[in-house]
Amino acid sequence: SQQGEEDPQALSIQEGENATMNCSYKTSINNLQWYRQNSGRGLVHLILIRSNEREKHSGRLRVTLDTSKKSSSLLITASRAADTASYFCATDTSDYKLSFGAGTTVTVRA
């Protein structure tokens, strides 16, 4: 069954605005990862946050993790047209595999 679920399913923003998407999961995790998928391409790893971490930054990306609520958020600041993509969260459960959600599709308008 699906472990992670992203919200919203789709997001449309103006260039320069921030984009926030959320991920909720069901069982306890070792870590949570975010990936980006451009149209017609494979997934690209963005950031990994461990279960004992609460916040992590990478460039214009900020990820938070709240294990008590079983949720994570990905914030993209000062969005650009090149950020148009689908974003997936993936959770690492105790059976040593990643479970992906269905993603949030982000469209950045020029």
Binding site: R41, G42, L98, F100, A102
Partner: protein, 113 residues
């Protein structure tokens, strides 16, 4: 310089045919995976191999058979293709299994007519 490569990129075939998709990684990783992405972009793991040994085998019809001739290659053979097999198939690799960052190939879009 491609880290994870797959061939072919597109595959169009008739129902009932048998086809193979090949995957190679040059990252020196120990673990490789096959995923299926459906039309709603939901990504589901199918198989995982660690050092040529099968470690994850999800509920996948036995028409799907992975083969790992060596640590750098993981091929996927599909027998008696059905309409429902139409999807994008991704190969991925990671240094260790499960929790590690995964590196994905560009995908193979399979269309069964």
């Amino acid at each position: 310089d491609t880290a994870v490569s797959q061939t072919p990129k597109y595959l169009v075939t008739q129902m009932g045919n048998d086809k193979s998709i090949k995957c190679e990684q040059n990252l020196g990783h120990d673990t490789m995976y096959w995923y299926k992405q459906d039309s709603k972009k939901f990504l589901k793991i199918m198989f995982s191999y660690n050092n040529k040994e099968l470690i994850i085998n999800e509920t996948v019809p036995n028409r799907f058979s992975p083969k790992s001739p060596d640590k750098a290659h993981l091929n996927l053979h599909i027998n008696s293709l059905e309409l429902g097999d139409s999807a994008v198939y991704f190969c991925a690799s990671s240094q260790d299994s499960g929790s590690d960052t995964q590196y994905f190939g560009p995908g193979t879009r399979l269309t069964v007519l």
